[in-house]
Symmetry: C2
Subunit: 90 residues, 2 copies
């Protein structure tokens, strides 16, 4: 896609975490493995996803709206996951 | 585990990303799917892991050392992944 002059490029960093109360089997497995070696002091481990992407938009609000929409429709599963978006202009 | 008085509790937030140059097939698949629906302006998508855990340690330096050690040994794969640790006292 040709970059137009009036468009800006933003880098989005998205933290996707399982909602509170949703069982995190992967996190539980890793926590148990940590306790079995030398790390009993690490607890409440939960594993989510970290997504980075570039977004081309007119301004930060539009970029945020686009990324939120993409997260709700495809990147995250809003039924069981929460997500936090952090945008920086690049 | 009983909490001793001289120990502090920290919450660690760890961002695990694939090293630059390592092919991210999952990210590529999600990016292609986004382009196929209504999001051609989202590019360079890469997917990593986001891990949250509590750590009990005497001070922040010890907590950081413990989490770094756990990441190198089990939580991340240091051959193909980078990780960033963020600690806050709770």
């Amino acid at each position: 896609m040709k970059k137009r002059n009036f468009m800006k490029m933003y880098q989005a960093s998205i933290q996707i975490t399982l909602k509170k109360g949703i069982l995190d089997v992967q996190g539980k497995a890793v926590e148990n493995a940590l306790h079995a070696i030398e790390f009993p002091m690490l607890t409440n481990l939960r594993i989510g996803k970290h997504v980075e992407l570039n977004v081309e938009a007119e301004d930060k609000e539009k970029a945020n709206a686009l990324v939120t929409d993409a997260c709700n429709k495809l990147v995250a599963n809003p039924i069981i996951e929460d997500f936090k978006i952090n945008l920086t202009e690049v």
